[in-house]
């Protein structure tokens, strides 16, 4: 029972929705829409579960007197306060204030830091003895030049080169990559739908 019902649920839900992709039947469409809405609501609950997990994780750190637990205190204090502001005064200025002056600067600054690391990793990748890294960096430099705003004004030739590069080497190989990934996704989905793979019932494979 512990396994049968969830597997049945997965297979039935899967068949209803995939059938809705293929054929148009009103009652099937309604059923699929109900299921999808259920998935949206459950995704919300999954977030709640995740946040509870995060709180428990940090709570454990404080209880266990782990070094660096002051960071857990900050999370444990700031998280409920933000939730409280957001749920009790949803349209208020306070919630907007939190977004504008706390969330935005922190996130944007973290984003801006990435450039430093992204440039630094170039150093690490280069000293590989094969030609692959050389191709990668040559291509990177060419594309960076093509990104410069107004570069097309310099010569119509550059605009033509840019179009060609995007249409052929990038377009073609990206298409190959996308097709490969799509095949992988199709095979993996079919395995889940046919219940060959059922991670939701707990660990199944013993090695």
């Amino acid at each position: 029972m512990r396994k049968t019902i969830p597997i049945a649920a997965a297979v039935i839900c899967g068949i209803v929705i995939i059938a809705d992709y293929l054929v148009q039947v009103p009652w099937l469409h309604t059923a699929a829409a109900r299921l999808l809405e259920g998935a949206v609501v459950l995704a919300g609950f999954a977030l709640v579960l995740g946040i509870l997990n995060l709180l428990a994780f940090n709570f454990r750190h404080i209880r266990d007197h782990t070094p660096g637990r002051w960071q857990s205190w900050i999370i444990l204090i700031s998280l409920p306060i933000t939730v409280l502001i957001g749920t009790t005064f949803p349209g208020s200025g306070a919630f907007t204030w939190v977004y504008t002056y706390v969330v935005t600067p922190l996130m944007t600054a973290l984003g801006a830091l990435l450039l430093f690391y992204a440039v630094t990793v170039a150093v690490r990748l280069l000293p590989l003895r094969n030609g692959a890294a050389i191709i990668l960096f040559a291509s990177c430099l060419v594309f960076m030049i093509l990104w410069i705003p107004g570069i097309s004004s310099v010569s119509p030739f550059i605009a033509a080169v840019r179009n060609w590069l995007y249409a052929l080497p990038v377009g073609a190989s990206m298409r190959g990559l996308l097709l490969g990934a799509a095949i992988g996704a199709v095979v993996a989905s079919l395995r889940i739908l046919s219940s060959l793979e059922q991670p939701y019932t707990g660990i199944t494979e013993k090695h």
């Binding site: 944007t108 073609a172 298409r175």
Partner: protein
């Protein structure tokens, strides 16, 4: 009570402080950065949770309470949602299998349908487009044809680079060997070219973010100083 402009000034100072705190990471790991990081995790998780509670769960609770006959299925979702939350405790662990099974079935079928209809079929069909279109643009017919052949070969070569079995010794084995060889040579080279293009794009993207932050710092510092009358 504080005046609105004081609150805004406090916000600007706070934003300035937090931005600089994050940037101290460049010098090295330090307490200020860790403080900012913890605050980021706390506040952003809280923000997203509040948003989900407010815009996904709460409206549906209201509908269920107001019109239970019409929206009975929301009740079902909430029961399933609570079962999902049971995953947090070891004893009630198995209850979550049902909603998870449902989610996996839905997720896999949505991915399957979407990938087939949106990527696999249209992208494969697009491989044939250059061979059958004559009035695409100003290109001459032979160039269009050559372009089509090159795109086809390129795409198949990259696909060949992702083969996971060794060619067998069957009659089709020869074709398979050729394909693998194409993947190993041309395919890998093309992968490196797109990785270079993606890397360049990411550098440009992150560069924009950094420039944006610098101009924010410039504007905010001058504004804060201006308001304080310095």
């Amino acid at each position: 009570m504080f005046a609105a402009e004081h609150i805004e000034l406090a916000g600007l100072v706070c934003a300035l402080f937090l931005t600089l705190a994050i940037f101290t990471r460049l010098i090295g790991d330090n307490k200020l950065f860790r403080f900012a990081q913890s605050l980021f995790v706390g506040v952003t998780s809280g923000y997203i949770l509040a948003l989900v509670l407010r815009s996904v769960i709460w409206p549906r609770i209201l509908l269920l309470v107001q019109q239970p006959a019409q929206y009975w299925y929301y009740g079902l979702y909430f029961v399933l949602g609570l079962m999902l939350l049971a995953r947090g405790l070891r004893k009630t662990n198995a209850l979550a299998n049902l909603p998870l099974g449902m989610l996996f079935g839905i997720g896999a079928s949505v991915t399957l349908g979407g990938t087939l209809a949106g990527t696999l079929i249209p992208q494969t069909r697009a491989l044939a487009t250059p061979f059958t279109t004559t009035s695409l643009n100003t290109w001459p017919a032979w160039a269009l044809l050559l372009n089509g052949v090159l795109v086809l070969v390129g795409a198949l070569a990259v696909l060949g680079a992702f083969r996971f079995t060794l060619p067998s010794h069957s009659p089709v084995g020869f074709l398979s060997t050729v394909w693998s060889w194409l993947g190993r040579t041309l395919g890998r080279g093309l992968i490196m070219i797109i990785l270079g293009a993606l890397y360049a794009g990411a550098l440009v993207s992150f560069y924009t973010l950094l420039v944006g932050r610098f101009s924010f710092l410039q504007q905010t510092i001058s504004e804060v100083l201006g308001r304080l009358g310095i």
